[in-house]
C-alpha cells in the first residue's frame, strides 16, 4: 500500500498541478508517463501539428505526460488538418491541384470527431476532381493508384495495370481479384485491398517514427486496421509512446520546407503563416535542392521586417539566461557550455545586437532540422 501511495505521489509530482486528476482520466491507458521536455514537446508538435508549440502551449505542456498530450491533440481538428495536408502532399495534390471541395475540406473535423476513418478520408481525396486532374489519362491514373495507394510497382504488375486502364475507360474487368467497370470501381477496389492498408500503415509509421516498421508488428497492425480502420488513432498514439519514437526525438532530420515555414512563423512571429503565405514560400523553397541559402534569406527578411518582438540589448539583464532560453525554445535543447560561453562573449561586443543572436540561431542548419 505504501509503495502504491508513493508511486501515486510521484506520478502526481511528474504531472504538476492537477496531475492526479488527469492521471485518473479514463482515456489515459498508457503506462508510465513520459514528461515532455522541450525536445519531446517540439517533436510531438511537429509530428501531430506540423509546427512547433506556440508560447502558451509550451507553457501549458512542458513537464506534463506525453500520453496526456496525445489524448488531447488526437481529438483536435488541427491535428487532423495537418494529417490531411500530409496526405495531399504525398499525392502531390498541392498548389493548383489542391482539392477545393467541401467533401475534402470537412475531413479534419470528421476525423477529429471519429465520424470518419482515415481509409474513407483517403478514398474521398482520391475521388476528388483534383486527383483526376493531377493524374490525367488511364495510364497515369492507374499507375498512380497502384503505386501510391497500393505500394506496387506497375512494371512488375503489368496485367493489373492493363486491367485497371480498361476499367478506367469503362470496360469490365477483375482488378485485384474483384470485378468492376468504372473509374470509381477501380478506386474502391484499390482502397479495399489489403495492399492499401499495408502501404498506409507502413508509410505513416515511417512518417512518425522515421524508421522501417518491424515486419511482424506491421502485419499485426495491418490486421488490426483491416478489422477496424478506426484503430489508426490508437496506432498513432502507440507509435508516439514507443521507445522507437524516443529515438526519433534524438535523431533529427532536415525539415521539409512546409514544416520549416511553420516553425519560422511560430518561433519568430508567434503565429502560424496564413495558408497563402505558406504556399508561396513553400513553392519557392521547393524549387531548390539546397534550400539553406534561401531559408537564411527568408529568416533574415522576417527578422528585419520589424515585426519580430525582441528586447533592447539594455533590457536583457541576464544574457546567459536569455541565450539559453533561445536555445531551448528554438532548437529544443540546452546549449553546451562551449556554445553558451561563445554566445555570451560575443553578446557583450558592442556591435552584437539581440538580432544578431537570433540570426545565428534561425539561419543555422540545426534550426532547419526537426
Amino acid at each position: 500500500m505504501r509503495a502504491a501511495a508513493l508511486a501515486l505521489a510521484l506520478f502526481g509530482l511528474a504531472f504538476g498541478a492537477g496531475g492526479e486528476a488527469r492521471a485518473q482520466e479514463a482515456s489515459t491507458e498508457a503506462a508510465p508517463a513520459r514528461a515532455l521536455d522541450d525536445a519531446a514537446l517540439r517533436a510531438a508538435c511537429f509530428d501531430l501539428l506540423g509546427r512547433p508549440p506556440l508560447e502558451a502551449e509550451r507553457t501549458a505542456w512542458l513537464g506534463r505526460g506525453r500520453h496526456e498530450f496525445l489524448d488531447h491533440w488526437l481529438s483536435q481538428c488541427e491535428t487532423w488538418s495537418h494529417w490531411v495536408e500530409e496526405q495531399l502532399y504525398f499525392f502531390l495534390l498541392i498548389d493548383n491541384f489542391r482539392p477545393e471541395n467541401e467533401r475534402v475540406e470537412e475531413l479534419p473535423a470528421l476525423l477529429a470527431t471519429e465520424k470518419l476513418d482515415v481509409r474513407t478520408a483517403i478514398h474521398r481525396i482520391a475521388l476528388s476532381p483534383s486527383f483526376d486532374q493531377r493524374n490525367p489519362g488511364a495510364d497515369t491514373f492507374v499507375t498512380v493508384v497502384m503505386e501510391q495507394l497500393n505500394g506496387l510497382r506497375v512494371q512488375k504488375n503489368v496485367r493489373e495495370l492493363e486491367v485497371g486502364k480498361g476499367m478506367y475507360d469503362g470496360r469490365p474487368g477483375m482488378f485485384f481479384g474483384k470485378s468492376g467497370s468504372t473509374q470509381a470501381d477501380l478506386l474502391r477496389i484499390a482502397i479495399d485491398d489489403r495492399s492499401f492498408v499495408q502501404q498506409l500503415v507502413a508509410r505513416e509509421y515511417r512518417r512518425i517514427v522515421r524508421t522501417e516498421p518491424d515486419k511482424a508488428e506491421l502485419a499485426l497492425n495491418v490486421r488490426r486496421f483491416q478489422r477496424d480502420p478506426a484503430v489508426f488513432r490508437a496506432l498513432l498514439r502507440e507509435w508516439m509512446l514507443s521507445v522507437a519514437w524516443d529515438a526519433r526525438v534524438r535523431s533529427r532530420t532536415n525539415a521539409p520546407n512546409r514544416i520549416w515555414i511553420e516553425a519560422l512563423y511560430v518561433d519568430l512571429l508567434g503565429r502560424q503563416p496564413l495558408p497563402e503565405e505558406s504556399r508561396r514560400l513553400r513553392t519557392a523553397l521547393d524549387g531548390l535542392s539546397d534550400t539553406g541559402p534561401l531559408r537564411s534569406v527568408l529568416a533574415r527578411v522576417l527578422i528585419d521586417s520589424g515585426q519580430v518582438k525582441l528586447p533592447d540589448k539594455a533590457e536583457i539583464e541576464d544574457p546567459t539566461q536569455w541565450i539559453a532560453g533561445l536555445f531551448t525554445r528554438l532548437l529544443g535543447r540546452v546549449p553546451s557550455t562551449e556554445e553558451l560561453r561563445t554566445f555570451v562573449t560575443v553578446f557583450h561586443e558592442p556591435e552584437c545586437r539581440p538580432h544578431t543572436v537570433l540570426y545565428a540561431l534561425v539561419t543555422h542548419p540545426e534550426y532547419q532540422t526537426y
Binding site: N135, N254, T283, S289, V301, H364
Partner: protein, 388 residues
C-alpha cells in the same frame, strides 16, 4: 536521411567560384584522378566544348509535333541543320519522373510517377563533378516541375551523392510573381556592418561545434536571388510560363556564371492530356524560348564557340487522341517510345541525320565524355556519329 549541416555550407561556399581558382583546382584534381578518369579528362581538354546545355524537352513530346511539323520548332530545326539529328531515340514509358531521370543517370529508372524521392544511381552531374573535379557552382539544373524535379540533382549512390550534386533552381517556384510579392511586402534583408557580420559568423560557427559559414558567400547567393526576382523572370506569363522561366533562369546562369553544365527540365507539354492544341502551343513557345537561349549563347564571346546543346524529350505521346481530344502516354506506340534528339556544338558534325536506333540513356555517357567524366554505372553508350 540524417541532416548534414556541412552540405549547405559547401553549396554556399562553392557558389562563389573563382575562375582562376577553378582552373588551378581542376588541373590539380586531374592529377589525383584514377587512370580512367584522367584519360577522359585529357580527351575533353582537347575538345572545343567547354560548356554543355542539356535540355530535357519533357512533359511528353512526339516527333510529329516537332520535326514532323517544322514550323512549330524553327529553333530545333536550325540547331539540327547545324548539328546532328537523331531520328530514332528509344525512350521508356516510365512516367515523366522516371523517364527524365533516365536521361540523367543513363539507366532506365523504374520510379513512381508521383514519387518524390531520389534515385539510387548517380546522375551525370555527380559523374562530372567527381571525375572532372568541378565545383557545385559549375553544374546547375533548372527545372519547371516543382519539388519532384529537385531529385534530379543527385542520387543516393554511396560513391557519389549530395557532395557531387548539381545546384537546382526551379524557375516557377523561386521566380514566381507571388513569391516576389511576399518579399515586397516584408521588405528586403538589411546588409550587416562588417563587424556584426563577423560576429554572426562566430556565433553560427559555435553552434554544434560546426564550422562558420561564410556570410560573404551567403550574401552572393542572396544577391543573385534578389537580382533575379527584379529582372523580369518572375513576371513571365503564358501557357508555358513555368518552362519559360526555367529556360530564362538557365540563360541568366549561363551568361553570368559560365557554368560547365546546365541542364533544363521542361514539363508543361503534359497539358496534352487535356488539350492537343494547348500542347502544340507550349511546344512552339518552348522552342521560341530555347531560341532566345541559343541566341544569348551565340552572342557571348566566351560561350559561342565552346558550348554544346543536347535536346530531347523524355518520351513521346500516344498515336491517337483520347476522348478529351488530348494525348495521353501509355499505348506503347512508336510515337510514344521513339523521340528525336538534337545535338549542336563546336565538336559535333554539321547537318548530319542519324537514322540508327539509339537510346535516351545514351545521353548521360555522352555528356559525361564531353566534359571529361566517365559514367561508369550508366548502361547507355556514347551517341554514335556525333563528332565531326
Amino acid at each position: 536521411m540524417p541532416h548534414n549541416p556541412d552540405r549547405s555550407l559547401e553549396r554556399v561556399s562553392s557558389f562563389a567560384s573563382d575562375r582562376r581558382a577553378f582552373v588551378l583546382g581542376a588541373a590539380a584534381g586531374a592529377l589525383a584522378l584514377p587512370a580512367l578518369g584522367r584519360g577522359s579528362l585529357l580527351a575533353a581538354q582537347e575538345r572545343k566544348t567547354k560548356h554543355v546545355v542539356l535540355v530535357a524537352f519533357a512533359g511528353g513530346v512526339r516527333t510529329r509535333e516537332t520535326f514532323g511539323a517544322p514550323s512549330n520548332v524553327p529553333t530545333l530545326e536550325a540547331l539540327a541543320k547545324e548539328g546532328v539529328l537523331y531520328k530514332r531515340v528509344k525512350s521508356s514509358n516510365l512516367g515523366h519522373f522516371g523517364a527524365a531521370l533516365s536521361i540523367f543517370t543513363g539507366i532506365s529508372e523504374a520510379r513512381g510517377i508521383r514519387e518524390n524521392a531520389r534515385g539510387g544511381d548517380p546522375t551525370l552531374f555527380e559523374y562530372v563533378r567527381k571525375d572532372a573535379g568541378l565545383r557545385a557552382s559549375d553544374v546547375w539544373i533548372s527545372t519547371s516541375g516543382g519539388a519532384q524535379q529537385t531529385n534530379f540533382s543527385y542520387g543516393l549512390h554511396p560513391d557519389y551523392g549530395a557532395r557531387y550534386g548539381a545546384n537546382t533552381v526551379d524557375g516557377d517556384g523561386l521566380f514566381n510573381a507571388e513569391f516576389k510579392s511576399i518579399l515586397d511586402a516584408w521588405g528586403r534583408p538589411k546588409a550587416l556592418p562588417a563587424k556584426e557580420a563577423e560576429l554572426l559568423g562566430r556565433l553560427r560557427g559555435a553552434i554544434g561545434g560546426g564550422s562558420a559559414g561564410s556570410v560573404e558567400d551567403s550574401a552572393r547567393i542572396e544577391k543573385y536571388i534578389l537580382d533575379e526576382l527584379t529582372s523580369g523572370t518572375a513576371d513571365i506569363r503564358g501557357a508555358n510560363a513555368a518552362d519559360a522561366k526555367a529556360i530564362r533562369v538557365a540563360r541568366n546562369l549561363l551568361v553570368l556564371f559560365k557554368p560547365k553544365l546546365v541542364s533544363i527540365v521542361l514539363q508543361q507539354a503534359d497539358a496534352a492530356h487535356g488539350s492537343y492544341n494547348g500542347y502544340v502551343e507550349i511546344v512552339r513557345r518552348n522552342d521560341e524560348a530555347l531560341g532566345e537561349l541559343w541566341r544569348a549563347v551565340r552572342a557571348d564571346q566566351e560561350l559561342r564557340d565552346s558550348t554544346a546543346f543536347v535536346i530531347l524529350p523524355e518520351f513521346g505521346r500516344d498515336a491517337d487522341l483520347n476522348s478529351r481530344r488530348g494525348l495521353d502516354h501509355g499505348d506503347g506506340s512508336n510515337d510514344l517510345e521513339y523521340v528525336t534528339a538534337t545535338c549542336w556544338g563546336p565538336d559535333f558534325a554539321r547537318n548530319r541525320i542519324v537514322e540508327d536506333d539509339v537510346q535516351a540513356i545514351d545521353v548521360c555517357p555522352t555528356v559525361c565524355e564531353l566534359l571529361g567524366a566517365s559514367a561508369t554505372k550508366a548502361r547507355g553508350k556514347r551517341l554514335p556519329k556525333l563528332f565531326a
